[in-house]
Structure formats: C-alpha cells, structure tokens
C-alpha cells in the first residue's frame, strides 16, 4: 500500500530560485537561507520518496483570469517549467504519477471535494523552487511529483478549515492505493509577506513562529483561523500559508495516529520580500 511518510513545509520565494540558478548561494545575503535546507537535502537522500504530492499556488502563470480553479490536481504525465517572463528556470521536467493522481481524484471527489483535474499545465516557481531547495540541482528530479495548485491569488481563497479537511481526504486516498509507494506531501508558500501597496514588505516574525508552533502541536485549532487574521498579521500574500494546512491534514495524527516527529524547523528573514519558514514532520 502507498503510505504518506512525511510532510515538508517551505516558502517558495522566486528570488530563491533565481539565486540558485545564477550561482549566488554562497553570497552573504543568501547563505543563511540555503544553510537552512542543508539538513533537508541530506535527509531526503535517505528518505527517498517515490512521489511528492506538492501543494503550491500558481502565480498568474498557468492560470490567467480565463480560469480560476480553487483546487487543481495535476493528473498528467509531465509538466513543463514555465517561462514567467524572465525565461524558464533551468530545472528538469517535472514527471507526474498519473495512476496515483487518478486514484486520488476518484477518492477525493467522492469525498465531496470538487477538484479541477489538469492534464496539461506549465508549473511555475511555486512548484519548482521547493524542489530545488530540497533536491538541489540534479539532472532529473529523483521522484515523481503530483502538482496540486490552490487558488490563493483571487479572494475568496479556500479556508484553512477546508484545506485541513482536504488534507485528510488526500491521506485517505493515498493510503488506499495498492502499489507500495513512499509518498510525501509538501505544503508551500508563505510565510509572512506582502507584495503590494504601501504596506509592502510587512514581516511578522512573532506571528510566523506561533503559526509554526500551532501547526506542529494543534493544527485543527489553527485551521479555524479566519482569512482576515492572515492578511492583517502576515500580509496579504501571507494567506498562502493556508496551503500548509493541506499537508498537515494528511499526517497520521490527524487520523488518530501518533504525533509526528519534528525533524527540522527553520526560520529566516528575509528572502527578497518574504519570511522563509521550513519544517519537516515525519510520521513515526
């Protein structure tokens, strides 16, 4: 049977991708950011997921205002890294897992989550920066990746509670797939940041760290936090953090299992306009 073994949480700041692609990781500005992922890079070599279910958001790349799906599951065989206007990132093609994705679609939709299914889409920095942070710069990504895009660009975005419940449905789906697969679920985006208006540049270190505490210890309660709290405290783009609740909802403890082990916790300000947060939680 397939099993969700761990969840990973990370910001997906585009400038991090640019720093990596342009060979700036050793610069004083960037060094502390990348150092925060040294542990993850070692760990994931041993953890060796077969599939990463990667929760991220598209940033007006694959989805314009033509189509605004709240939850879009990538069911295709491959996904091309997008040209976001600065040229495509020099990263490998992303290969999906259409069989598992189809199984998840079947299960999750029957669990009352009306997903949009996407067989063809380009994937932007929201998806590729986390892969780079975790795997570095390989010739090919070492595992399959199922993209799961969440609308956090146009309000209303899905609530924290809905995201948390969706994570639970995804867990149920994955764990009913017959093939033996080591599956990780990643929640990306955040932490506090605001990219717009006179309040641009907002960072809330205290709030972010409390969010990490609560995500680890009491995610069900955290999931009840309304959108306005994210906006007011963590900036208009801090709302991306609802995506972390999807990954957290898929962990064993939420389904009555033992609590996860915290393998890594990292926080750093700034990367460009953003507070970088990163967690690894492993199911015992």
């Amino acid at each position: 049977m397939a099993r969700i073994t761990a969840s990973v949480y990370t910001s997906h700041v585009p400038a991090i991708g640019a720093a990596l692609d342009l060979g700036k990781t050793g610069e004083a500005y960037w060094q502390p950011v990348f150092a925060g992922y040294d542990f993850a890079k070692q760990w994931i070599k041993e953890a060796q997921p077969d599939v990463v279910f990667l929760v991220y958001n598209d940033h007006a790349t694959a989805f314009s205002l033509d189509l605004i799906p709240t939850f879009a599951l990538g069911t295709g065989a491959s996904f091309t890294p997008a040209d976001e206007g600065w040229g495509p990132r020099p990263v490998p093609m992303v290969h999906g897992h259409p069989e598992l994705a189809a199984h998840i679609a079947q299960s999750v939709i029957q669990d009352d989550f009306d997903l949009t299914l996407v067989n063809k889409m380009a994937v932007d920095h929201g998806l590729t920066v986390p892969l780079s942070l975790m795997f570095g710069q390989p010739e090919a990504w070492p595992c399959k990746v199922i993209p799961f895009a969440v609308n956090v660009v146009q309000y209303p975005v899905p609530s924290g509670r809905r995201c948390f419940q969706l994570g639970q449905a995804i867990r149920k789906a994955v764990e009913s797939f017959d093939e033996d697969l080591n599956v990780q679920i990643w929640g990306t985006g955040g932490m506090s940041h605001q990219l717009q208006g006179p309040r641009a540049g907002l960072i809330n270190r205290e709030w972010d760290n409390r969010f990490l505490d609560r995500l680890i210890a009491d995610p069900a309660e955290l999931a009840g936090m309304p959108h306005i709290d994210y906006v007011r405290e963590a900036g208009s783009e801090g709302i991306e953090l609802v995506m972390w609740l999807i990954a957290r909802g898929a962990m064993a403890d939420v389904a009555g299992g033992p609590p996860p082990t915290v393998l890594q916790r990292f926080y750093h300000v700034p990367a460009s306009n953003t507070a970088v947060g990163h967690l690894i939680l492993e199911n015992p």
Binding site: H59, T61, P198
Partner: protein, 147 residues
C-alpha cells in the same frame, strides 16, 4: 445583502477579490499577454498602440503608462499579473513591491534586511504605523515636504 469583506480596514492593502477581478479583467489579461516575447516587443515598440488593442478603460491605460502600480491595483490589477509589466521592464519583484511604498530601491531593500516592515500600527486604518495613508509616500520622498 452586502457580503462580509473584513479586509477593507487594513491600511495600505487592497485585496484582489472577485469584485476587483471583474474590474481588472482586461488589464490583467493584457499583463498576461506580456508572457510572450513577441508581445513584449510589440508593447515596447509602441505602448499606447498595444494598449489600445485591449478593452481596458482609459484610466487603466494611463496607470500602466505611468507604471504606477498602486493606481493599477485600484483599477483592478493584481500584483502577480502586474509583475509581467515589471518583467518586461527588467524589474525584479522587490523593485516592484518597493515602488508602491514610495521608498527608493535601496531604502526598501534595507528595510527588508533589517527584518521587514513591522505590523505595529499597521493592522487597522486609523493607527499610526508607516503604512498608514497619512504617512505616504515613505522614505526620503516623504521627508522633503515635496514642493
């Protein structure tokens, strides 16, 4: 019946909701078109002519020509879409975000390195933080008493 929009009282912040999206549809779709190199070249060659191909309001076109991102947002623009204009101009996301505060690029970058903008005084309209309307523009631009 009016819908609940509790985010209207956050200073210096315009939430891109379904209503803003409706207003900004063509502005944002124009921005999307700049994802293609051929369109970027045509836009750069004659901005006004290229804008006139889109069903945008005159105000939206003026806001784009002025590269005033706050103005673009008020007319329905979304920052991730507007970023395509910045990419066309060779600007980084940080330069774009900074431009909306009135700070110079250096001032904004320094603020971020020092830990970013504090939420103190910037949670509700009517407080006294640096993002409040009474403190615009920020940085040196706001200290000159602009003649």
């Amino acid at each position: 019946m009016a819908l609940d929009k509790p985010y209207k009282d956050v200073p210096g912040t315009l939430i891109f909701d379904a209503e803003q999206s409706r207003k900004g549809y063509w502005l944002n779709q124009f921005c999307m078109s700049l994802m293609q190199a051929e369109n970027r070249a045509r836009f750069k060659a004659d901005e006004r002519a290229y804008l006139d191909e889109w069903a945008m309001s005159e105000e939206q076109k003026q806001a784009v020509l002025a590269r005033d991102l706050n103005w673009c947002m008020r007319t329905g623009g979304n920052i991730y879409f507007l970023a395509k204009i910045g990419a066309t101009d060779g600007k980084s996301f940080q330069q774009m975000a900074g431009s909306m505060t009135g700070m110079s690029e250096e001032e904004y970058r320094d603020m971020m390195i020092k830990g970013g903008r504090s939420p103190e005084g910037n949670r509700y309209l009517g407080e006294d933080g640096d993002a409040q309307p009474q403190h615009q523009p920020q940085g040196k631009a706001g200290q000159k008493g602009n003649p």
